[in-house]
Symmetry: C2
Subunit: 215 residues, 2 copies
DNA sequence: GGCGACAATATTGTTGACAATCATGTGCGG
DNA sequence: CCGCACATGATTGTCAACAATATTGTCGCC
């Protein structure tokens, strides 16, 4: 009976999907009956989510979905840039060109992503980037880095969508990812790392520029 | 009443000090009476330590101090190199030469660290490096990075001592830290980052070379 | 009408008892 | 003597009731 874990992942998904927004309260009893489980299981799950910094707890008062803080997000992007760069570098080192066939096809010109970028179809675009992420993490083959990346990404996840909504970001991101993937296919570890880091830097700049809209 | 936190920090310190070694069991009831508290508080603390990867839990069987795994430690050092480098870079950017006066004096030739390195006085040497760490983290002034560094360092902490015990490591590390500090005093962010990364790389090499002894 | 004290309510924190599960030791059969 | 089934004990997992605390609402006073 893995109740805690299922409750934890359910709540995590709701937070990441934006179903629960920052500041929303998470009362234990209400969640318990809503999820058809006990208060105990919910409590354990909330403790785990607190350790992941997805929720904040104020003693005897309650738990709320973690609020986004601009300065902290900037700091998160500093770290994320390094981790994403490392993942790209390792993936380039450990892979062969054939490993990238699917991803290459997905991102190829005429593959529909240009239209998605123009049309503002964020979900299609996000799905493509998720495929990039999954592939890189799998090929980088480092469990510790993977755990780390998941944790840091989770904390900045709500921003991803909003950054993509800033004018021209999808086209910009698409072009950058194509360059990254080219380097990965070539097995150019240094290039892949630098290009991915550059991709994160341009995202970070948007975070500063559109600060008022984003946070 | 902050029972959980005090129990958590107590157990954390015992693990980091080596008072509890990897594989040691941590029975809830025994720890409760040993620490003069309740099983509930111990349990909460163990859950928190599990999230930090300092202990491992096998369902219905018990909790043990996290075991060290060579491959995982290599991966940890990959990440640690990046984070320590970032901290050095930020500290260099945000500081003035005066901020480093104390540290500079501590690491100066004739300050006693050479003798400690020669004499194998690990505790004196570790205290000096801790001072370096504290100073850099304070001047880097990024809470997120600081939390991250603490978490990753904790997981590799037991290795630090052992790596320092390998032949010539203390002298090597001392020379490297002097170069890092020089760069920090100069405000040379790039140099500080690269030099600190190099310092982590040489540590990582020892981890490989003395693998059998260390893990 | 605004503000502060205070009561009422809702929510979390804690406790002890009980159930579930795994590790260990014992005896039987081969 | 070895291995396996099984009982026993130790340990963790779960629950429901109770206590402690913060929040909210209300009343009286200025």
């Amino acid at each position: 009976m893995v109740k805690r874990q299922s409750v934890e992942s359910e709540l995590r998904e709701r937070i990441l999907r934006g179903d629960l927004t920052p500041g929303d309260r998470l009362p234990e009893v209400q969640l318990a009956e809503e999820l058809g489980t006990t208060r105990f299981a919910v409590r354990s799950a909330l403790q785990a989510l607190e350790a992941r910094k997805l929720v904040e707890r104020t003693p005897n008062a309650g738990v709320v979905v973690a609020r986004l803080d601009h300065d902290r997000l900037q700091e998160i992007y500093d770290v994320l840039e390094l981790l994403e760069g490392l993942a790209a570098r390792l993936a380039a080192q450990k892979s062969t060109p054939a490993d990238w066939a699917e991803l290459q096809e997905l991102f190829a010109e005429g593959g529909g992503l240009d239209e998605a970028a123009e049309g503002g179809d964020i979900d299609v675009f996000l799905a493509a980037i998720d495929r990039y992420r999954d592939t890189v993490i799998e090929l980088a083959d480092q469990s510790f880095l993977a755990e780390m990346l998941v944790g840091v990404r989770d904390q900045s996840h709500l921003l991803r969508r909003r950054i993509l909504m800033t004018p021209g970001r999808m086209q910009e991101s698409l072009a950058e990812h194509r360059m990254v993937i080219d380097a990965l296919v070539r097995g150019d570890a240094e290039g892949a790392e630098q290009l991915k880091r550059h991709n994160m830097q341009t995202a970070r700049k948007r975070l500063s520029r559109y600060r008022d809209f984003l946070v």
